[in-house]
Symmetry: C2
Subunit: 109 residues, 2 copies
DNA sequence: TGCCCTAATGTCACATCTGACATAGACTGA
DNA sequence: TCAGTCTATGTCAGATGTGACATTAGGGCA
């Protein structure tokens, strides 16, 4: 696992602690965070493969460069909604998204 | 296509019109709405397969019955974030979600 | 009939997300 | 060196999503 990813996950460490004391939700919370991480990684790959800058992608999305940067940084304050919109705007198809999600590149290792 | 689905899509018809006048974003918008529709259908299946009531799932999610109902109704005011959280809470695994998304049960027909 | 369980729909105060903007660092090429 | 491009990070007002609540409707059962 790349350290950049670890850093991201820690950054996205998030409110995980706040729900962990309850039921067995921690697993689902963790899965959710990992999913976001996967999507943001996919987004970065997808964007660069298309030769797009963050600014260009932002324009397509009618968003801003800073937000695209946050998406790729797995900023906790970015929704999956936005990530998926961005992926679609970056040329990813539904099937591509499914494939990305299927890859359970678990960060537990 | 079942009429219930059509109804949902129309209900989810959403702000599609508001962006359609711009670039070629309509396709991505449509894909996004269809994706939400797919996820809410999956959620309903997943929940009933588990023999859970909306209220029970809501408790797991720390949400409310009414919101679960809205999720399954593809209410525009429900985020993909919440849908995915709900799927995970309903016992779906990452792989299951990917599989659901991969099925491009296009509504265009 | 009444009671209970389930689900759908509307509303609202509050929380979260969003785009825009400013700024800064890294890296180019002139 | 400087100007230009790309990316990262912080902030904030306004937009959107959220849980909770009330209400309604339908079905099963005593």
């Amino acid at each position: 696992m790349k350290t950049s990813q670890r850093k991201k996950l820690e950054a996205a460490g998030w409110k995980v602690g706040s729900t962990r004391e309850f039921l067995g939700l921690s697993n689902e919370e963790a899965a959710f965070v990992e999913l976001k991480l996967t999507l943001s990684n996919s987004l970065k790959k997808c964007r660069t493969n298309q030769g797009l800058s963050q600014t260009e992608l932002a324009k397509r999305l009618r968003s801003s460069q800073s937000r695209v940067a946050k998406m790729e940084a797995s900023d906790p304050a970015v929704s999956i909604d936005l990530l998926i919109r961005a992926l679609l705007a970056a040329g990813a198809k539904r099937r591509d998204i499914a494939k990305a999600i299927a890859k359970s590149e678990s960060l537990a290792a």
